[in-house]
Symmetry: C2
Subunit: 162 residues, 2 copies
DNA sequence: TATTTACCCGACTATTTTAGTAGGTTATTA
DNA sequence: TAATAACCTACTAAAATAGTCGGGTAAATA
């Protein structure tokens, strides 16, 4: 099972895209600023997301990325799958050759777990995430911080220490 | 989320312990042979399992490890927790400081997922695993292989290629 | 058409984690 | 006291993660 910042970043970035999709394509540098993810790293992730047809790109000034389909047709599992190879909990990628060619003692348990995780993440769409209160609150805070800019933000942080 | 061979090995070893618990303590070298896990690595894992009071040890000849309580009172989640720090899917270990001190956009989603996984693995006891058909079959094969010994096993493998 | 914006791509790198080694010490039993 | 097996510390190779860097290429605007 592999679920690290790579998968988390991808979902976060896609959710950012969904949240800001009403004014044309969203540039990676915008996402980078709002979500504090390195631009080059985002480029790598979006290359994979594009190949899996989860986003479409628009080049040139004013360009960026757009979700390739409706918010309720994109699920978290698809995003994680696109950047990680899989959300597989087995060590043998389901091939049952975990113990020198044969099945290991706990193979079926990890298969069950993989299914469980996959089912859970397959049921959560971007639409659902956008509607959540906790997501809306964080998004609002992020928009506010970006408006302030870094220097102003630092001043406030410094002021709050006093 | 961290579920790698470390956690898988630990559960496999504990299940092996449960399967062979009827003739006194089980030595790590036995587990090492049956499950093909390096002895030194097993020692590291059992050090943690012992500290979490999941097993008790018996030193000296004929010694080994015993499960510290009944098979239906030890759950997979406890084993994985003992060797990994946690089955946490968040990047901030639940502290909500994922985005430079504040909560990141997808924090709550990963909390939900962590709960989901933990609940699932908390419901599976060693007892249940021991009863499963797939587990019994693999265990039987392993006992047979150990009886043959390595050299005999290689001969059979070689014969099967012809 | 020049310039800017932003996607696109491959190679490289520091850090961390995993998985495993090596070499010893302590306790128990035969 | 010899053998066995737990116990402990430190080290290490390999892999994965989380980036960086340096160049492209395509499209829009001025």
């Amino acid at each position: 099972m592999r679920l690290t910042t790579k998968g988390r970043y991808a979902v976060t970035a896609m959710l950012d895209l969904a949240l800001h999709s009403d004014h044309g394509p969203v540039s990676l540098s915008d996402i980078s600023t709002r979500q504090e993810i390195s631009l080059s790293y985002l480029e790598q992730l979006f290359s994979k997301l594009r190949k899996q047809a989860l986003v479409t790109s628009v080049r040139g000034p004013g360009g960026g990325y757009r979700l390739s389909r409706s918010h309720n047709e994109i699920f978290v599992a698809q995003i994680v799958d696109a950047v990680n190879e899989s959300v597989d909990a087995t060590g043998c990628k389901g091939r049952s050759d975990c113990q020198s060619g044969s099945t290991c003692l706990t193979h079926h348990l990890w298969c069950d777990l993989s299914d469980q995780i996959h089912d859970f993440l397959s049921q959560i769409s971007l639409e659902q995430l956008v509607m959540r209160n906790d997501v809306r609150q964080v998004a609002e805070r992020q928009n506010f911080e970006v408006q302030l800019g870094c220097s102003e933000k630092d001043k406030i942080s410094a002021a709050m220490v006093d």
